[in-house]
């Protein structure tokens, strides 16, 4: 590490500024990246990390500033030119070619930008195979993306980004949605990029993993640098603690016996769901009392989203789902939602071309004219950034801001039963703390019932009165959060 730091930087960003209309997303940002270095970029949601990355890559055109790569200023070039100079970027959300195999998807990244490329040569296939192996996709390289688990799709994105042997790799939130074990594997992969002499720019909200991985880190707030340095120094910085890290999450569970209703408000009994031949839920039974907070903990692909979609009426199932004594079978999703069972889906499902405010108003359209502004006001207290972004198109929000908006829209419906599917995805620690406080306040001041699906147990446990563990389509454990660590924590903690 120290030996490499003597070399001249491969990438120098000087005074980079990016404005969107009146909003300055990145303000006068400067940083240097050396070969064989992992440089972290942290900051709260909307602080401009992704925008900085996209401006370097040429996906967004910098308003002002220089991006100097090996002595040449590349600011303002189109993305495809910058890519060919030796840049690779891993995207958080991408749409792979679903009818092609993993190998073919990787091969696309290797093709020249030429109209004469009518036949793929053998060398190309071999190189694609080698890269697939390199990132751990050897076993699945002839399968098609829709049949792959989430982590493998992310591996494929890594593979595409390093396919043409780039000197600079930009990685936006590689750990989001991965399990603990997978985060470990991805950390190793990313540090192997460093060992190969690449310069890596890394953005992620998983503070622990970022801190363990980076050589240096830059903290941003409102588009500007707060400080740069070694991870431990930066994490100790007063401002960073205040605007990004926040405090610890704390609450306590209430025993199940404290819930007065004899028959639980929501009962899921022996529910099974099949997708074609694959069984996504196998005889799952859970119950939730009025006012109770229940977490369903499970890794990717365990079946959490399927369970929630069945409850919300989106999927056909066998077994029974009963709410307040009435079977939900055959009730339309719209009606289920209208009666107060609201799901905030993992995929967010925002109206991308409508403004933040319009999205929220749609959520609250059934409220009375007096209640609606009050509810919005309350929501803006919870997520202040949404107030500032009211007029912005939802699809241009940062990842974390979109997550806040999705949760916000669900809360606008004043649900009686709220289902939150992976709400922590892409949220900065400080926002997690805010969300946590909001949930706690809801718990104390209303009789809202919450069903929370998470693989992030540090968030799921403190908010739960009771926890279910879902594994491979089955419920394998049920109990109070206090016992979780000892009895079921392996693989999560």
């Amino acid at each position: 590490m120290d030996a490499t730091s003597n070399f001249a930087p491969v990438l120098e960003v000087r005074g980079l500024t990016k404005r969107f209309g009146g909003l300055t997303a990145v303000k006068n940002l400067s940083l240097e990246l050396r070969a064989g270095e992992i440089f972290g970029l942290i900051g709260p949601n909307g602080s401009g990390k992704s925008t900085a990355m996209k401006s370097i890559m040429g996906i967004e055109r910098p308003t002002t500033g220089d991006v100097v790569f090996q002595g040449e200023n590349i600011a303002g070039l189109p993305a495809h030119k910058i890519a060919r100079k030796g840049f690779g970027m891993v995207f958080q959300h991408s749409r792979p070619l679903n009818r092609q195999t993993v190998l073919e998807n990787i091969m696309v990244a290797l093709l020249p930008d030429s109209l004469l490329m009518l036949f793929a040569d053998k060398a190309l296939t071999e190189r694609a195979e080698w890269i697939a192996e390199r990132v751990g996709l050897a076993a699945v390289m002839h399968r098609k993306p829709p049949t792959l688990p989430f982590a493998d799709l992310r591996r494929m994105e890594l593979a595409k980004a390093i396919a043409r042997d780039p000197k600079v790799v930009l990685v936006d939130e590689p750990f989001a949605g991965l399990t603990l074990a997978e985060v470990g594997i991805f950390s190793e992969l990313i540090s192997s990029f460093r060992d190969e002499g690449r310069a890596v720019l890394l953005v992620d909200h998983n503070v622990k993993s970022v801190a363990a991985l980076v050589d240096r880190v830059l903290a941003m707030y409102l588009g500007e640098e707060i400080c740069t340095g070694r991870a431990d120094e930066v994490m100790r910085n007063e401002t960073v603690r205040r605007v990004y890290l926040g405090g610890a999450i704390e609450t306590s569970a209430r025993p199940e016996t404290s819930f007065a209703d004899k028959v639980p408000l929501l009962q899921v009994e022996n529910v099974s769901v099949f997708y074609g031949k694959a069984q996504a839920l196998d005889n799952v039974s859970i119950h939730v009392h009025q006012g109770e907070f229940v977490s369903v903990v499970g890794l990717n692909g365990a079946g959490k989203t399927t369970l929630f979609n069945a409850i919300s009426g989106f999927l056909p199932y066998t077994g029974e789902i009963v709410r307040g004594g009435e079977s939900l079978r055959g009730v339309s999703p719209a009606k289920i939602a209208r009666h107060g069972l609201v799901q905030c889906p993992e995929s967010r499902e925002l109206f991308g071309e409508m403004s933040v405010r319009e999205n929220l108003d749609l959520g609250g359209h059934h409220l009375s004219d007096e209640a609606r502004p009050k509810q919005i006001e309350w929501l803006f207290e919870l997520f202040p950034i949404l107030r500032e972004r009211q007029g912005q198109m939802a699809q241009t929000l940062s990842g974390g801001e979109q997550q806040m908006l999705a949760i916000g829209r669900a809360l606008m419906m004043q649900p009686k039963i709220l289902i939150l599917d992976e709400p922590t995805l892409g949220l900065a620690p400080v926002i997690l703390e805010q969300l946590s406080k909001a949930l706690e306040k809801l718990r104390q001041t209303s009789d809202i019932t919450v069903l929370l699906g998470e693989q992030n147990v540090t968030f799921a446990l403190p908010h739960a009165d009771r926890v279910y563990v879902l594994e491979h389509a089955r419920i394998v454990w049920e109990g109070d959060p206090g016992r979780f660590a000892a009895e079921a924590g392996e693989g999560y903690l």
């Binding site: 890559m57 993305a79 995207f91 073919e104 490329m117 793929a120």
Partner: protein, 307 residues
Amino acid sequence: MSLFKTRLFWIALGIVVIASTLPLYVSGYILGLLTVAYYFGVFAMSWDLLFGFAGEVNFGPTFLIGVGAYTAGIINHEYGLSVYLCIFIGAMASVIAGFVLALPALRVRGPYFGLTTLVAVLMLQNFIVVFADLTGGEIGLTIPDVITINASANYWIALGFMSISAAVLYGLSQSPLGLVLQASGQDPVQAGALGFNIVKHKLFAFIVSAFFSGLAGAMLVFYFGTASVGTVVDVAVGVQVIVAAVLGGRRTVLGAALGAIFLIVAGEFLRPTGELATFIVSAVALLVVLFFPGGFLGAAMSREARS
């Protein structure tokens, strides 16, 4: 998959061989019908290259077809150049018109591209009506020459032309270039970050599409002996091309040809039912799109993939 690819090749070859024997035992009426259907097949395949692979909805396939058809027709009518030269010039005119249209249109995102292409059709239609002296206006343009008057020969030319177009377009769609095109249609931002000049690739697809559309359009008018708005320019004709492609199966290229043949032949056989014909064909198309969104070939292929 690779097994299926070779299977697909043999099936296609078999169909073409059988189709080429038709003139030996079917009536001239049916041959004439199929001749038109084959040209439509090329229209639909060209359209699928743009929609299925480049991800751009061209609402104005008849702009490209019409420019090719009318250019060839007018040159023949005015200057009496040889048929083949006229056809070639028609195809080139279509390429140029396609380039001029697509270059600005591809810079706008989303539905605006489609709207631009639609406007282009309306402009072409207006042009033809306004400059009636040159174009024959609403009555249509009479074309002095024909390729041949032999029904069988016309049939074979159309079949051969469709087969070659299919081979080229399908081959292109399966080549690395087709992959890049598909990636650009699917996720333009990422394709750019992978180092591909999206505009260049899409423009190329548009030009290829224009070339085959224009060529087929020009050949069609020499078969008909006339060019009229109702047969090669009208928005309704364009809609038929689009329906054919979607019916046959998006992103399959070959399916588009099947869809076109189905539409034309079914429309003709239902002609005795009068106005009802259009309705029945549309209803079938709607049902297929609703229940087999992959179209004829898409449905067949996913069954193949499952087994």
